[in-house]
C-alpha cells in the first residue's frame, strides 16, 4: 500500500502515527498537545503564531488591545463559514469563550483573565479582562471557535461535551470523516474552506493513534505509517530512511525537560543546594544518550526557540563544585524525593540518571511516581509538592511572559502552575511590569532581566530543549513548527508529485 502517492482518483492521503491517546476531540481540551494536533485540522482559532513567532490573525482579521490592556476588540474575517455552511459570527466566538470559561477545563487556563464578551456586530466583539494583560491574545491560539448553533442543537445539559467528544463543529480546512476514540481519525479536505488555501495539502489525512512505543515502531518499519515523530536516531531510523522514500525533518520544539525544586522547603530553600544539584547532572550525555541527540542542552529557563531570552551559557556538569555545594546535604543523610511520570521514558531515564549521579556524591534520592493530574493537584500545597520533580514543560503560549508568570511568580504559588512554588519579589515585580508594558522592546528587556535572575537563583533546573524528528515521505514539504502547537500541523504540509 502506498497511500502517500496519488490514489486511483488522484487523491492524496497521508497517514500519521500519533503517539498518544485521544479519547475525546472536544477542542476545549486542546491544552493537551495530542488533542490539539487532532483538532487543529478541523478548527480555526482567532489568532495563531506563525513559524517565525509572530502572532497573526486566523478567524480574526484584526484585533485591538485597549490602551489600559483590560479589553480587546476583535474583528472577524468576513465570509468565513463553518462546515455546515453557516457563517462564523461574533456570537460563535462569545459562545466558545463563555463555554470554556464555564467548563473550567482545558484551554480555560488561557482565559483566566477573561470576564465577558460583548458582541457589537456580526463580525465584531469586545472581550473584557479582569486585569491588564498583554498575554491574553496569544493565549487564544488554542481556543478553537465552535459553531454555536450546531453545538447548542446537539447539547444536553453538558454544554455539548458529550456531542463534541466525537463530532466537530469547526471552520478549519478539513472536515471529520471518522473518529474512533484512541484508534484513528480520518479527515478530508473541505473544498469550501474559506481561509488561506493550501492546494498541495493531502486530500485525506489519517491519524493512527498508537501510544505504545513498540507497535508504533513496528508499524513504521513495516511502512504502514507515512509520517511519524516516534523514532529515535539509530538503526530503526536508518532502516526507515534506507530505501530513500523517506526523509527526516528536525523541528526544535518550545518544549523542554526540567527539574523543579520545592523552593519553599528545606533543603531546596537554599539556592546553593539547588545549584549543587544543577551542577551534578550530565546535560551533554542527556541530550546525546537519553534524547539520542534530538535536542539541545538548555540555555535558560525558557526554551531556546522563544523570543526575549538573555544570553546564558549552556548548563554543564561540574562535579567538584557540586560535591562541595552538596556536602552538607550529603552529611545530613536526608533522603530526597524525586517525582517523575513513569509513562514517559525520558522522565524516568532522567530521574534515574540524576539519582545515580547524586548517589555518587553521597546524596540519597528516592524516586517516586506521579502522574500529571496528581502533580498539578499536589502543587496546590507546598507540603505536598515533591522535593524535586522531573517534568516536561511547554509554555502555555509562545509568549515568554505566559511561562514566566505562571511558573515563577508568587501569585501562582500553591495554584498548581508554579512548579517550584518559587517566590521572589524581584522577579514578581519584573514580570508584572513586563506584562503591563505594551512596548515590545521594553517588555522584552524586562523579561530578560527576570530570566537572568531566575538562572542566577537556580530557581529551576532546565535540562534540555527538545527536538522532534519528523519522518515524512520525500515528496512532503512544509513541515514546520508552529510555536503554539507542538504536534503535527498536517494542513500546512504540501505534497508534490
Amino acid at each position: 500500500a502506498d497511500p502517500s502517492g496519488p490514489g486511483a482518483d488522484g487523491d492524496t492521503t497521508l497517514t500519521f502515527g500519533v503517539d498518544g491517546t485521544v479519547p475525546n476531540i472536544d477542542p476545549v481540551l486542546a491544552d493537551n498537545s495530542t488533542v490539539d494536533q487532532s483538532v487543529v485540522p478541523m478548527y480555526e482559532s482567532l489568532v495563531d503564531y506563525d513559524p517565525d513567532g509572530t502572532l497573526a490573525g486566523r478567524l480574526a482579521s484584526s484585533w485591538k488591545v485597549a490602551d489600559d490592556a483590560t479589553s480587546v476588540t476583535f474583528t472577524l474575517r468576513s465570509g468565513a463559514l463553518f462546515h455546515d455552511g453557516s457563517p462564523v459570527t461574533a456570537e460563535d466566538v462569545k459562545f466558545t469563550l463563555d463555554r470554556a470559561k464555564a467548563l473550567g477545563l482545558g484551554v480555560a487556563q488561557y482565559l483566566t483573565e477573561y470576564v465577558s464578551s460583548e458582541v457589537t456586530g456580526d463580525n465584531e466583539l469586545t472581550v473584557r479582562l479582569a486585569h491588564p494583560s498583554t498575554l491574553f491574545v496569544g493565549g487564544l491560539a488554542k481556543v478553537y471557535i465552535l459553531n454555536s448553533k450546531l453545538v447548542q442543537k446537539n447539547a444536553g445539559s453538558d454544554q455539548g461535551q458529550a456531542w463534541l467528544a466525537s463530532h466537530e463543529a469547526g471552520s478549519g480546512p478539513y472536515t471529520l470523516k471518522t473518529f474512533k476514540p484512541n484508534q484513528q481519525i480520518i479527515y478530508v479536505k473541505d473544498a469550501d474552506y474559506t481561509g488561506t488555501k493550501n492546494p498541495d495539502a493531502p486530500d485525506t489525512i489519517v491519524y493512527r493513534l498508537i501510544p505504545e512505543d513498540a507497535p508504533q515502531k513496528e508499524e513504521m518499519l513495516a511502512g504502514n505509517i507515512d509520517v511519524s515523530d516516534g523514532l529515535e536516531a539509530g538503526p530503526d531510523l536508518d532502516a526507515v530512511l534506507a530505501d530513500g522514500s523517506k526523509k527526516a525533518v528536525e523541528l526544535a520544539k518550545p518544549q523542554g525537560i526540567y527539574i523543579f525544586f520545592n523552593t519553599q522547603r528545606a533543603p531546596f530553600n537554599d539556592p546553593k543546594v539547588r545549584e549543587g544539584i544543577r551542577l551534578a547532572y550530565d546535560y551533554q550525555a542527556h541530550v546525546k544518550t537519553i534524547l539520542s541527540g534530538h535536542g539541545e542542552v538548555a540555555t535558560g529557563v525558557v526554551p531556546a526557540v522563544m523570543a526575549c531570552r538573555p544570553d546564558v551559557q549552556p548548563f554543564a556538569q561540574d562535579l567538584t563544585k557540586a560535591k562541595e555545594l552538596l556536602s552538607g546535604l550529603a552529611k545530613s543523610g536526608t533522603e530526597l524525593h524525586l517525582a517523575y511520570q513513569p509513562i514517559f521514558s525520558e522522565m524516568s531515564d532522567a530521574a534515574t540518571a540524576l539519582q545515580s549521579s547524586l548517589r555518587d556524591l553521597g546524596v540519597k534520592v528516592k524516586l517516586v511516581t506521579t502522574d500529571y493530574p496528581t502533580y498539578i493537584e499536589d502543587l496546590k500545597s507546598i507540603d505536598k509538592t515533591p522535593d524535586m520533580t522531573v517534568v516536561w514543560d511547554n509554555p502555555p503560549t509562545p509568549d515568554v511572559g505566559s511561562l514566566l508568570s505562571t511558573r515563577y511568580t508568587t501569585k501562582y504559588v500553591e495554584k498548581g502552575t508554579n512548579f517550584g512554588q518559587y517566590s521572589n519579589p524581584a522577579v514578581d515585580a519584573l514580570v508584572d511590569k513586563a506584562i503591563g508594558t505594551a512596548d515590545d522592546t521594553e517588555r522584552c528587556d524586562l523579561y530578560k532581566q527576570a530570566q537572568q535572575k531566575l538562572v542566577d537563583d537556580s530557581a529551576s533546573m532546565p535540562i534540555a530543549d527538545e527536538v522532534t524528528t519528523v519522518i515524512t515521505p520525500k515528496n512532503v514539504t512544509g513541515v514546520e513548527l508552529y510555536p503554539a502547537h507542538v504536534g503535527y500541523m498536517p494542513q500546512t504540509y504540501r505534497m508534490s508529485n
Binding site: 515502531k217 539509530g234 538503526p235 544518550t289 540518571a353 511516581t369
Partner: protein, 285 residues
Amino acid sequence: MTTVAIAATASRPRRKRLPVLDVIAFGAVVVLLAMAVAGPWLAPHDPYQVRLDRALLSPSGDHLLGTDGLGRDVFSRILVGARSSIFAALLAVSGAALIGIVVAMVATIGPRWLDDVVMRLCDITLSLPVMVMALGVAVALGPSLHSAIVAMIVAWWPGFARLARAEMRTVLTAPYVEAATVLGASRARVMTRHVLPNSLDGVYVQATLEIGGATLIMAGLSFVGAGAQPPSAEWGAMVENGSRYLSSAWWISTFPGLMITLTALAFALAGDALRNRSHPDSTLG
C-alpha cells in the same frame, strides 16, 4: 494369641529414581534462589550506576549481556533483579498461602455462618482477575513492587483458602481425626496435630506451582507500569524498559525476558514434580 512377625516384605514403597527433568527443575530452582540471595555480591558492575557514555553497548567481555539505554550493565541488573523478581513472587505466594490457610482454619472451626461468609468473600474476590485487581490496588496505593505484592496477596488468598478448606473438611471427617476425638483430644489438638499437617500438601504443591505464575504476573504488572519502578532491576520492568530498543538493542529486554520464562518454567516443573510425588495424576493442573 501368637505375635505376628512383621516381615520386611510388608509393602514398603520402593524409593523411585528421580526423573532427569525433575532434577533439572529442582536444580534450576536452587540456582535461582541462590541468585536471589547472592545476586548483589556476584554482580560484576554496579547495577544502578548510570553511565550515559556507555549506553546500548552490545554484549562483550566487559558487559556479558551488554548495557541498557542508561549504560547500566544488563548482566549485573539481572543478577540483582533476581531478588526483587523472585522474592516478590515468593512473598506474594507465601503471603497468600498463609492467609488462605489461616482463613480456611477459621472457616473450618468456626460456626457455619462464618464459613458461609468467608466462602462468599472468596467467590467475590475470585471473580476479579488478578491483573485487574492489581491495577486497582496500584491506583489505591500508588504503583510499586509493594503494591503489586499486596495486590497479588489480595487476589490469591481465596484460591488457597478454598483449597485448604476443602482439604481440611476432608481430613476432618477422616477416621483418624474421629479416632482422636473419641480419644478425648481437644478441638485445638485435633486441628494442630491431625488436620493441619494432613491438609497442607495440596497447598504446598499449589504454592510451588503458583510461584512461576506469580513471577509472570509481577513482570506483567511492571510492564504496564503498576509494579516495580525505576531504578529497580525487576525483570519485568527491565523488559519494559528495553522494549523501546527491541530492534536496535535486543539484549536489553531479551535476557530479562528469558529469565522470567526460565523462572516460571523451573518453578512450574518443580511444582509438577512435587505434585506427581504426593499424588500422581490426581489433582488439577
